[in-house]
Amino acid sequence: MTPTIRIQREDFDLAAEIATLSGGRRDIGAVVSFTGLCRDEGGTLAALELEHYPGMAEAEIARVAEEAAARWPLLGLLAIHRFGRVAPGEQIVLVIATSAHRRAAFEAADFMMDYLKTRAPFWKREHLADGTTGGWVEAKGEDDDAARRWE
């Protein structure tokens, strides 16, 4: 099982990615997907701008995916993370894990997201609805706590 990792400016299509992962297989019992979307923060946000570290972003997510693959009996694993400007309601990140059984698929997808949040070199900056550029989004301690659940 080789994880699929993509860092891209373009949007992605969950159904097409699941179809690619599952296509023709009859041994998959469970597919868990996580899609992260840009929220409008009560109407105050016009867009998020996602900066990333090209090269390291792919490498780091691939390392996280390898850890997940070593830890759970997965049949497929995919992570896509967008960069650039993303408007409220738009998709930012996608993780899909497939396995024979549901527990492995749930835990692997959950683990991938916790580690993506704390280890993948991406930074979000806010563009506000009033036309001004807001600040850089601050990292949350609860994300570090979430990642530590897997240690």
Binding site: E51, Y53, I92, L116, A120, W123, K124, R125
Partner: protein, 99 residues
């Protein structure tokens, strides 16, 4: 520190490395990347941070909180005490907020 630990590093007392900066570290430093000659006494990530802070106010502002800024060597996360041996590209950036 007398051994040449990497074929990319010169055997001399100074080494040329590429520094890259992201997000508000990049903004405070005032550039996205640069080449620097590291003196021999700059041995760890924390040594480099302190050496950069002494250069000008932009660096000093970026690294004001030495424990906040994260670093990577050759695109792998490292800690402040990590040696710069073998480093070709050293990155500094805020805590990640992707996902």
């Amino acid at each position: 520190m007398t051994q040449a630990s990497d074929t990319m590093a010169p055997a001399a007392q100074t080494r040329t490395v590429r520094l890259v900066y992201f997000a508000w570290v990049r903004e405070r430093v005032g550039r996205a990347e640069e080449q620097v000659e590291l003196p021999a006494e700059v041995a760890t990530v924390l040594d480099l941070v302190r050496w950069l802070k002494a250069r000008d106010e932009g660096y000093a502002a970026a690294f004001a909180d030495e424990t906040l800024v994260r670093a990577a060597i050759n695109q792998t996360h490292v800690k402040p005490g990590t040696s710069l041996d073998g480093a070709r590209e050293i990155a500094f950036f805020p805590p990640m907020t992707g996902g």
